[in-house]
């Protein structure tokens, strides 16, 4: 961390609005403000408290960046971060800290790290933890907790954080004592990334972090039995290989597991060598280049017509690292109904959970794809099928109309940014119509460039995710990469306070708000399924986001027409720092194609009338 001079750390205990009553009475609970101050920048060679052990464990595990918000019960950990090599970004809200950490992990491939205090700090993290859990993102959350002897007494800012987060973490821990807390934190960090990744949490009672200890944490290790065998059984691989060789209409379906397993190269080699058309899930965007002739882009509710035709008619679906979410499958009865399914996944519980796997291959995506690659001796005879897939691309092109008498189309904005930026540009989004357009009308070619909230569908993910993505890219030495946050007006309004972090930390991000003054996806569903009654979806009024941006100290631009798009995009991208463009787009534009919830993928609607 190099900019501590420019941006003083927010570690002033006076910033805490209310003093922690637990401190006053708790025996052994020292006043952190009164503790001996270490000289700035000096890393302790040996630990002396639980909190120092926590930080030593994080450093040893390779954590470089943390996102969080200060507060009473987590203060000892923050105090131990003083002078640590870990860069800390103070976020406006704990939800933002969790999303930023999540996105940091998606972009960097290392577990994200977020911190919050007890009670409201911890509960504010919950949405972000649940988001990471649904998308299998590696992340460690550290939460302060009231001192152990107060636990269960409804103390100030007490919440049963372990209880609240139990169903949304891969595993969570309640730290028991200062001697072991460093090892527990190291274990939780490693556990979040081994096998199928997921968020972990360690709840840190204040007495545990304040207590003296001389036990330095050992090397961080995941618990026994949690790091699975990467290879699939050879006989199962051979059987799957025969099925693929004999397929007439083979199709690859690459999910988020391909990206998390660093298997994009193996996946590309596999599909290209055997000339098998490829579709992806939404989290799988970037695993296979969408400008490749074999690519059919992504399938599912708002996937391309050609991807959905292919997935409906394939006779051999090679699914890698996907959990067959309902937004992908539509109605199970009509999902790839004639396909034998080869399912590669690191998590055996995903095998035959939603879609029966004829050929289950449990293992690491890249390892098993390589095994399969070796086991296939002849390319499937699928010339006709490939031609059919190309024909579908021509029959169901992804287009949109730009009539002169209608307002600016949001798809045009997405395409304008795509054209103006390089392939390594990172895109983050909120959730809703803008998210679909950002995924449909941008051509993704590289893994870890698409950062979005898929499983949980969290409106407001985009802004804090852009902060996390920017910091990750900078930490990786990629300061030249662009980070674009496509957001909806509704999503932006939920977490736009994190713009303050982008300004304070001087983060080069472009926020493109596709503003239609609606919760647009809800409006679209109301038109299709609720006879057009726009109950609570019509904002009718929105603040002027360009002026709000200026008030934050960011560049603010307002765009209303087509001819203003290119200059605004150019100005925002050239601007060195956060820029917000408020694009006033056609409020009546709908996301198409669309497979109605539970419908058949092959019966996607191309017009509103077909819904």
């Amino acid at each position: 961390m190099s900019d501590s001079a420019a941006h003083p750390r927010e570690d002033d205990p006076d910033a805490e609005p209310a003093s922690d009553p637990a401190d006053a009475d708790g025996p052994g609970a020292a006043d952190p403000a009164g503790e001996e101050n270490r000289p700035d920048g000096e890393t302790p060679t040996a630990v002396s408290t639980g909190a120092e052990s926590v930080v030593a464990a994080l450093e040893a595990a390779g954590a470089e960046t943390a996102f969080g918000v200060q507060g009473g019960a987590i203060m000892p950990v923050y105090d131990a971060l003083y002078g640590s090599s870990i860069r800390h970004l103070t976020m406006a809200h704990e939800q933002g800290a969790a999303h930023a950490a999540d996105a940091y992990g998606v972009v960097s491939g290392e577990p994200g790290l977020c911190l919050a205090t007890s009670g409201p700090g911890a509960t504010n993290l919950v949405t972000g933890i649940a988001d990471a859990d649904m998308d299998s993102d590696a992340m460690l959350a550290l939460t302060g907790q009231v001192p152990t002897e107060f636990v269960g007494n409804d103390a100030f800012q007490e919440t049963d954080t372990v209880g609240v987060t139990r169903p949304i973490t891969k595993h969570n821990y309640f730290a028991g004592d200062a001697d072991s807390v460093g090892d527990v934190v190291g274990e939780a960090f490693e556990l979040s990334r081994v096998g199928r990744p997921g968020p972990t949490l360690v709840d840190l009672p204040k007495d545990v972090t304040l207590d003296d200890t001389e036990e330095s944490p050992g090397p961080a290790e995941a618990p026994a039995g949690t790091d699975p065998n990467p290879s699939a059984r050879e006989d199962a691989v051979a059987a799957a290989a025969r099925a693929i060789e004999e397929a007439d209409r083979p199709l690859c379906l690459f999910g988020g597991g391909v990206i998390k397993g660093e298997a994009s190269e193996a996946a590309r080699k596999f599909a290209r060598t055997y000339e098998i058309p490829v579709t992806t899930t939404m989290p799988g965007i970037g695993s296979f280049p969408e400008d490749d002739e074999l690519s059919l882009s992504w399938a599912g509710m708002h996937g391309t017509g050609y991807a959905n035709m292919a997935i409906t008619h394939t006779d051999c679906l090679i699914a890698v690292g996907t959990r067959f979410d309902d937004r992908l499958t539509g109605g199970i009865d009509t999902f790839a109904p004639e396909a034998e399914v080869v399912h590669i996944d690191i998590d055996p519980a995903e095998i035959s959970k939603n879609v029966y796997a004829d050929y289950p291959l449990v293992g690491d995506a890249g390892t098993v794809l390589d095994q399969l690659f070796e086991a296939i001796h002849e390319e499937p005879d699928a010339d006709e099928w490939r031609e059919q897939c190309q024909e579908w691309k021509e029959t169901y092109p992804m287009t949109y109309a730009t009539p002169d008498d209608e307002p600016l189309k949001p798809q045009f904005v997405v395409e304008a940014f795509d054209e103006a930026t390089d392939d390594d540009t990172i895109v983050t989004t909120g959730v809703g119509q803008h998210q679909m357009w950002a995924s449909q009308f941008w051509t993704y070619t590289e893994p870890r460039t698409w950062v979005s909230s898929h499983g949980l569908g969290t409106m407001g993910y985009g802004v804090p995710a852009a902060v996390g993505a920017r910091v990750a890219a900078d930490a990786m030495g990629d300061a030249d990469r662009d980070v674009i946050c496509f957001d909806g007006d509704g999503s932006f309004l939920m977490t736009m306070q994190e713009l303050s972090v982008a300004v304070r930390e001087d983060l080069d991000i472009t926020f493109a708000v596709l503003n239609n003054e609606y919760i647009g996806m809800v409006r679209q569903w109301q038109d299709a399924f609720f006879e057009g009654r726009h109950m609570a979806s019509d904002y009718n009024w929105m603040p002027e986001f360009d002026k709000l941006a200026e008030a934050f100290g960011a560049l603010g631009i307002r765009v209303d027409g087509y001819d203003e798009v290119a200059p605004a995009v150019e100005e925002a991208l050239a601007y060195d720092g956060p820029a917000v463009i408020d694009f006033h787009v056609d409020p009546e534009e709908n996301v198409l194609p669309m497979v109605p919830s539970g419908g058949a993928n092959g019966r996607f609607a191309l017009t509103e009338d077909q819904l």
Partner: protein, 217 residues
């Protein structure tokens, strides 16, 4: 298709496209002569060795409830290995459902090993029954019939303890019903596999057992 209306994308309407004949059932199986179409639910006894740490029961019961598994009973108790407990669950599920329960439980960190106890397992349950005490002789006779023990007898109530497998317990409860059952407490079924078969996969007597190897079939 709504003609050349600007609001939409080109291409044949849903009804004009070829659609495949095949279908899948609710469990995601292709409905096809080779693959069976439907599964009936059945009773299964699932045994898990777990680390005896705080919250382990909450983790298991939370998993069962949030994934909507049908569970009849759940018991937990220590084993001869320090720090290890055994959880026995009786579930009513289809074969894929039972498979899911085992796999999802295996993912919980404190779960050391888990599996279905084979059908020939020894199962037993303990029941305490409190009935009206007006006819003590008859109550004792019925209790004796089911190898029960009288734990408490007073002028108004008699409390009896019964043990046995599910069918014996069900029969006994029916028989005691004539006296009027005031209160009942049941432990739920516990189970051990017969002979040398380990109850949880990989379990070795008096040792920690091996981590479950995922069943991929």
């Amino acid at each position: 298709m709504s003609g050349e209306d600007a609001a939409g994308m080109p291409g044949p309407a849903p009804d004009e496209r070829p659609q495949p004949e095949g279908r899948r059932n609710l469990e995601g199986h292709r409905i096809d002569p080779v693959v069976e179409a439907e599964h009936d639910s059945r009773r299964a006894v699932i045994s898990a060795l777990v680390e005896d740490e705080p919250g382990v029961l909450a983790r298991v019961s939370g998993l069962v409830s949030r994934r909507q598994f049908n569970i009849e009973s759940l018991t937990v108790g220590p084993t001869t290995v320090e720090g290890h407990s055994r959880i026995t669950m009786v579930v009513e599920e289809t074969d894929p459902g039972i498979d899911q329960i085992e796999k999802q439980m295996a993912k919980l960190k404190p779960v050391i090993s888990v599996g279905e106890v084979s059908g020939s397992a020894v199962t037993s349950e303990l029941v305490l029954l409190k009935v009206h005490g007006e006819e003590p002789d008859k109550v004792h006779a019925v209790a004796e019939m089911y190898d029960g023990q009288t734990l408490d007898a007073g002028p108004e109530t008699i409390t009896v303890q019964l043990t046995g497998d599910e069918s014996k317990i069900d029969d006994a409860i029916d028989a005691f019903d004539q006296f009027g059952i005031i209160e009942i407490a049941r432990t739920g079924q516990t189970a051990l596999a017969r002979g040398n078969i380990p109850t949880a996969p990989g379990e070795k007597p008096g040792t920690a057992g091996e981590p479950t190897t995922p069943n991929t079939d």
